[in-house]
Structure formats: structure tokens, C-alpha cells
């Protein structure tokens, strides 16, 4: 297209700008959560996350060290130090010693206090307090500063959510529980569906066309229908609530798509190769394991990614089939919903927990996007 003569450049700019706008709009909410998960409670609740990347002007109330740290030097009593505790990147623009006038002085000015005490504050927070008589009082002098503080991020939220053993709402256990649900709930349907898809694609038996049609029909059956009958069934046959039930449920619900995708793919494999293997003496089982499985890798990967994302992100199946009253088998999605209820305002915890649960699927997504796209195309365009 670009080679066509006389294409307007204004339109090209419009295309670029519209796309940039769209990408920003789509990315903005997620970035917000990511950034928030690295901010402290105070930062999150006092300013929008979009302010965190630039330095912010803050009004702070700080104290000098207490009088008992004063030293005598050349007949003067001195307290020396930094208002921020240690040297910081902060940049003080104005300061004051009274809450009524916090902008009396600029850095370097000398403020007169009672009893002839003077104090001077530098832009980086270093201060010097001098007096001819010993200073008294229990606490240090209050100093009000207006300072530019640079962006500041912390890993404390993640430490708290992931590593703190005393945090009953931590995500570690839920993370492993989610993993325990997800891996078999991905591998089992892939395996079961691959065998079934091979049979439906390449083996001759009566009723094959009917079965394919049935699979297509089951593709759209909402899993809501299955909740009560299956919960009843699980209770009756003694599975109850637990991993086995969740695996089976995920397998059942994932199978129609799996069989559909894999069969469509396998039907497209060259007939000659399979027949050649037959002439070479391979049994159906050998053909399946040695020829079909390796050749179907792209389709297997596509579906595996789907199923992985779906089971990792699932809430409903876990609520109904997995999590019992003890809560020992809780998964991350459930944990987050809990947090939304009990800690709705604590964004540092919410954001961090949510990001812990999102991180793995996002990683898989970016690593295996090619297969995901291929699977989507195979699953819908046909």
C-alpha cells in the first residue's frame, strides 16, 4: 500500500496518532495497577498514581533531634543533623518554624527562636541549631518544610503479600493452590482431547460425524448450567469439594474447544504421511504418539495456552467445586475478591495481590502470543 503514489501524509499522521491514543487508553488502567503496587500506603491515598512518576511537592512536618543530643562546642550548644534523618534527594523550597507561616524562610536563612536559639536549614534538609545556653525540652524543634521529593518506589508491598508468614491474607498459598489447579487442569484435557481428536479425524467408526456435531454443539453450552447437577454428583460419589473435582470440571468444560481445535488441525495433516506410517507398520497408538503428536504441536500449544489462561483466571469453578469452608484450597482470584470485600480501600494490598495473580498469565501471554493468535484463528474463523 505504501508504494502507491500520492498517499496523503496527513492521513498517515492521523493513523499514527489514533493508534497511539488507543494503545495508551488500553494500557493506562493496567499500568496504574502496576505502579500502585510499588507505592506506599500514604502515597497511594494522597495522590493519583500518574503523579508518582514525576517529583511531587509535599508539605511535611519534621523535627530536629531532641535537645539531649546537643553538644557543646566553642561555648555554643549545637544540634546538627538532617531533617529527613539522612541525606535525601529532597529539595526544600521554603520552610518555617510555625504552623501558621510555613513559608517564612528560604534555605540558608536563619530563624530566631525563643531564648536566643537560632536555626538554619539547607535545601537538602541539613540543619544547624545553635544556642548560647543549654537547650531544654523533651522533643526536637518542629520545622515545616515544603519540599520537592523525587519519585519513590518500594518493594514492601510484595514482601508483605508474598513473604510475610503471619499475613493470613497473603498470596503465597493461594498462588500454589492456583498452580495445583491449573497444571493438571491444562495437561489432562490436552491429553484426553488429543486422543479423541485423532479418533474423530483419522479413525473410521460408525457415528463419527454425529460426534463431531455434538462437540460443536457443546462448545457454547454455558457452564452455569453444570454447577448444581455436578456439585450434587460430586457430593454423591464422594469427591466433594477439592482438586479432583476442580480438575474434572475444568477438563469437562475445556474439552469441546480442545477437541474442536485439535480435530480441525489434525484433519489438515497430510493423509499420505499417516498412511505411509501404516504401511511402515505403525499401530494407531504409535502413529498417534510418534507422528500426530509432534506434528500437532502448534495446535496443542494453542489450546494449552487457552486452557491455562482460562483455569488460572477462573473464579466460578473454584468457588463451586474447589474451595470448601476451611479455605485451605483457596485460589488467587477468590483471595482477591475477598480482599475487595474486606480491604476495599487498601489499594497497596489489592494492587499487589492482583498483580501477583496477573503476572504469570501476562508472562505466558507475551512469551507464547504467536500460538495464542493461531489458536484463536483456528477456533473462530472456520
Amino acid at each position: 500500500m505504501s508504494a502507491i503514489v500520492g498517499t496523503k501524509s496527513s492521513l498517515t499522521w492521523a493513523v499514527h496518532l489514533s493508534l497511539v491514543a488507543m494503545v495508551v487508553l488500553w494500557l493506562f488502567p493496567t499500568v496504574g495497577l502496576l505502579v500502585s503496587s510499588f507505592r506506599t500506603t500514604d502515597q497511594i491515598s494522597t495522590s493519583g498514581w500518574w503523579n508518582s512518576l514525576s517529583s511531587s511537592e509535599q508539605n511535611l512536618t519534621l523535627r530536629t533531634d531532641a535537645p539531649d543530643t546537643q553538644i557543646e562546642k566553642d561555648g555554643l550548644f549545637i544540634i546538627e543533623g538532617n531533617l529527613f534523618g539522612e541525606a535525601s534527594d529532597a529539595d526544600i523550597s521554603v520552610w518555617g518554624t510555625s504552623s501558621r507561616s510555613i513559608d517564612d524562610y528560604t534555605p540558608g536563612d536563619v530563624a530566631e527562636l525563643k531564648n536566643g536559639t537560632t536555626v538554619t536549614v539547607a535545601a537538602n534538609g541539613d540543619y544547624l541549631m545553635q544556642s548560647e545556653v543549654p537547650m531544654d525540652g523533651r522533643r526536637g524543634q518542629r520545622v515545616f518544610v515544603t519540599a520537592q521529593t523525587p519519585p519513590e518506589f518500594t518493594l514492601d508491598n510484595y514482601r508483605n503479600v508474598l513473604l510475610d508468614k503471619n499475613n493470613r491474607q497473603g498470596m503465597t498459598k493461594a498462588f500454589f493452590n492456583t498452580l495445583t489447579v491449573t497444571i493438571p487442569a491444562t495437561v489432562i484435557p490436552v491429553l484426553v482431547a488429543a486422543f479423541a481428536a485423532y479418533a474423530l479425524a483419522w479413525m473410521d467408526f460408525p457415528g463419527r460425524a454425529l460426534l463431531v456435531a455434538a462437540v460443536v454443539g457443546l462448545l457454547v453450552v454455558p457452564l452455569q448450567l453444570a454447577l448444581i447437577p455436578l456439585l450434587k454428583l460430586h457430593n454423591e460419589i464422594g469427591i466433594g469439594k477439592g482438586y479432583l473435582g476442580a480438575w474434572l470440571a475444568h477438563t469437562g468444560f475445556g474439552l469441546p474447544l480442545a477437541i474442536y481445535l485439535l480435530r480441525n488441525y489434525m484433519v489438515g495433516l497430510p493423509r499420505d504421511i499417516i498412511e505411509n506410517a501404516k504401511v511402515d507398520g505403525a499401530t494407531d497408538f504409535q502413529i498417534f504418539v510418534k507422528i500426530i503428536l509432534p506434528l500437532s504441536f502448534p495446535a496443542l500449544a494453542s489450546f494449552a495456552i487457552f486452557q491455562f489462561l482460562w483455569t488460572w483466571n477462573d473464579l466460578l469453578v473454584a468457588l463451586v467445586f474447589l474451595i470448601d469452608s476451611s479455605g485451605e484450597t483457596t485460589v488467587m482470584t477468590k483471595q482477591i475478591v475477598e480482599l475487595l470485600g474486606t480491604r476495599g480501600g487498601n489499594w497497596e494490598i489489592l494492587a499487589t495481590s492482583a498483580f501477583v495473580s496477573i503476572a504469570v498469565p501476562l508472562g505466558v501471554f507475551f512469551a507464547m502470543q504467536r500460538y495464542l493468535v493461531r489458536g484463536l484463528l483456528a477456533g473462530s474463523v472456520k
Binding site: D272, I273, E275
Partner: protein
């Protein structure tokens, strides 16, 4: 010793679609049998029935006297080379060749020895560790052939193995297959093609399939010189044999026929009985056997509509009776200028003139 016999073999697909009927064929050790026929004649189906990839609806198929109808392909001792090569794309050339041997649980040493020997024979040694997609079409075809040789089968089956190659490569590979066959005189091969040049050059015997059955079985030259029926006569040879309607005017060791269109009377060395006198026949003359005639003993006289000068030969297309009939074609040696729109008399040597009644050759009556 490997004999294949097909006795009254029949193939009917579900829905009563009959594709092959009454096939009787005896294939002897060391023969290279070629199945030819127009597309859809069932030649590939017949090959696949021999391989065991299609069930045999009726009749019996034996290898060395043992009934094979129910045997799965693997147990028949056959190897097959497919048109699409059917190489396993995820395996190297070596693994492709080893696949069948591994399944048969041969020892690794035997497998290596067999592969090395065949790879050497087919000049594949340097490609053994490549994947099929890194090979050219001709190399892939050699791998497919090599893969079948490695197994040392009783019977080789080829399903249009050269159709996917370009013209030049096809000729080269055809010659390789001929040489391969020569180097393995005891192996039996069945070869399917729609290309009559392949059939003529490779075959020990050709099986022409048409109308759900066998039209004729014979050596290439038998089919050319003494076709049993009009179908084989027209199928073998290019351009196809001309068939001119006529009537027998004199019988005996030499038959005299008057040709309906174009008005000539001509002799044929085909002998006829007296009671055939007056019978309607088709006179078959191959284009390459036509010669211009000046005497009164000619087959027909007609106007040349188109002349194609190819240098080596000149092809003449004579005026047609009506738009739907195919023109009579003559293929003359050398260059003939200024023949277009001229009226010419054509005839042929009596020994080259075939006679067909009701589609069947009178040669065999």
C-alpha cells in the same frame, strides 16, 4: 519369489458407488507392472487395495499364495512411495528411513547398516541429518524411495511418484528408477501413473484400466502395436490413433475396406472371415503412420485445415465433418511447406492399419 494375484477383485464404496469390477491379474516376481488409465479409473484405488489402505469389497488378493484381504498394511511386506513423498516432516532423513525398522524392533546396528547402504546407493549420505524441508524436490523423492528400499520389502508400490517434480527432474528420476529396478531384478514393483511415457519406458507389462475394469494387459509394444480395443488404441500414443468409419468390401488374409468419409479404399493386413463382408468397422491409423498417397489406393482425401510445423515433424489437421468430431491428424516426417487449404490423399502401410468392430480389435478374432 513373490507372486501377487488378484482374483475377481471388486471395490464398492459406501452408497453403492462401484469403482472397480472383475479385476483379474497375475504379477510375477521381478516384474515392474504399471497401472495407467484416465483420471478416476481406479488405478490408485487398486494400488491402495494392494497396500491394504483400502478394503477389498469382493474377490481375493494373495501374496505368494497367502490371502491378504484382511491383513493390515504392515503385515503384507509392502513398501509404498507416495506422490507427495509423505516424509515425516519432524524427523531427519535418517530417522525417516529408520522409522519402519525401529517399529519392527530391529537392532540399532542393523538399522545403521541398512541406512548407510541405501544412502550410499541413492547419494543421500550427506543429507542424512537434515530435515525434509531442507531438501529439494528431487532429494525428497530419493529419500522416499530410499525409505522403502531400507525395509527390503517383497513388493514396492509407487503412487504417481514423479507427478510433483518438474519436467527435467521427472526425466532424470525416471531414469534413476529404471536403473534401480535393474539393480534389484528380484524385487516386484507396482507403479501407478497417468503419464504414458513413464508407463512405456518403465514397465515390464502395462495394465490399462478403464470403465471399472482392465482394458488390456501387455508389454508396452504389444499395447502399441496390437491394441485389443479402441480405448487402448487411442490411450497409448500421442496424438491419439485416428479412427475412420468404413465398411469391409473384401475379406481374406488381407482385408479391403472402403472409408466412409473421404472416399478411399485401402488394404489392411488384418485377416477377416468371409462372413464379415459388408460389416461396419473403424479403420485405425496412427498419425505417425500416415503418408501422402498419389495412387488410387488411399484411405481418404481431405483438405488440410491447420498445419503445425514442428521442424522434426509436421502435423496436419484435416477438415472435420462437424464441429464436435475430432479432426483426423497426420504426423509427417520433416518439413512440408504450403500444405494448408490443400486437398491431400492419405494412406498407410497395410501392416499399420488396425480394424475395430464394436470397439474390439479384429486382430484377436
Amino acid at each position: 519369489m513373490t507372486n501377487l494375484t488378484l482374483t475377481n477383485v471388486e471395490k464398492t464404496y459406501p452408497g453403492n458407488i462401484n469403482v472397480l469390477n472383475n479385476i483379474n491379474l497375475d504379477i510375477k516376481t521381478g516384474e515392474l507392472i504399471v497401472f495407467v488409465g484416465p483420471s478416476g479409473c481406479g488405478k490408485s484405488t487398486l494400488l491402495r487395495m494392494i497396500a491394504g489402505l483400502e478394503t477389498i469389497t469382493d474377490g481375493e488378493f494373495t501374496i505368494d499364495g497367502a490371502r491378504m484381504n484382511e491383513m493390515p498394511p504392515a503385515q503384507r511386506g509392502v513398501a509404498m512411495v507416495f506422490q507427495s513423498y509423505a516424509l515425516y516432516p519432524h524427523m531427519t532423513v535418517r530417522d525417516n528411513m529408520a522409522f519402519a525398522l525401529k517399529i519392527a524392533k530391529k537392532s540399532q546396528a542393523d538399522i545403521d547398516a541398512a541406512i548407510d547402504k541405501v544412502a550410499d546407493k541413492l547419494q543421500l549420505t550427506e543429507y542424512l541429518d537434515r530435515l525434509p524441508k531442507a531438501l529439494s524436490g528431487g532429494q525428497r523423492q530419493r529419500v522416499a524411495i530410499g525409505r522403502s528400499i531400507v525395509r527390503d520389502p517383497k513388493v514396492y508400490l509407487f503412487d504417481e511418484p514423479l507427478s510433483n517434480l518438474d519436467a527435467a527432474l521427472r526425466v532424470a528420476t525416471r531414469i534413476e528408477i529404471a536403473q534401480l529396478k535393474e539393480s534389484m531384478p528380484q524385487s516386484t514393483m507396482v507403479y501407478v501413473t497417468h503419464d504414458q511415457v513413464e508407463a512405456m519406458t518403465l514397465a515390464t507389462r502395462i495394465v490399462v484400466l478403464a470403465n471399472k475394469g482392465i482394458a488390456q494387459v501387455g508389454s508396452p509394444l504389444e499395447l502399441y502395436e496390437t491394441p485389443e480395443n479402441e480405448f487402448v488404441a487411442q490411450f497409448i500414443g500421442s496424438p491419439a490413433m485416428n479412427l475412420l468409419p468404413g465398411k469391409i468390401v473384401d475379406t481374406g488374409d488381407t482385408t479391403r475396406i472402403s472409408v466412409t468419409n473421404g472416399g478411399g479404399v485401402i488394404n489392411s493386413s488384418v485377416a477377416t472371415r468371409e462372413d464379415m463382408k459388408g460389416a461396419a468397422v473403424n479403420v485405425g491409423i496412427r498419425p505417425e503412420h500416415m503418408v501422402p498417397e498419389t495412387s488410387e489406393n488411399y484411405a481418404f482425401e481431405s483438405t488440410v485445415e491447420i498445419s503445425e510445423a514442428l521442424g522434426e515433424v509436421t502435423q496436419l489437421y484435416f477438415e472435420r465433418q462437424d464441429a464436435d468430431s475430432s479432426p483426423v491428424i497426420a504426423k509427417l516426417q520433416g518439413i512440408h511447406r504450403n500444405v494448408r487449404n490443400k486437398s491431400m490423399r492419405m494412406s498407410a502401410d497395410p501392416s499399420k492399419i488396425h480394424l475395430f468392430a464394436d470397439g474390439k480389435s479384429l486382430h484377436y478374432q
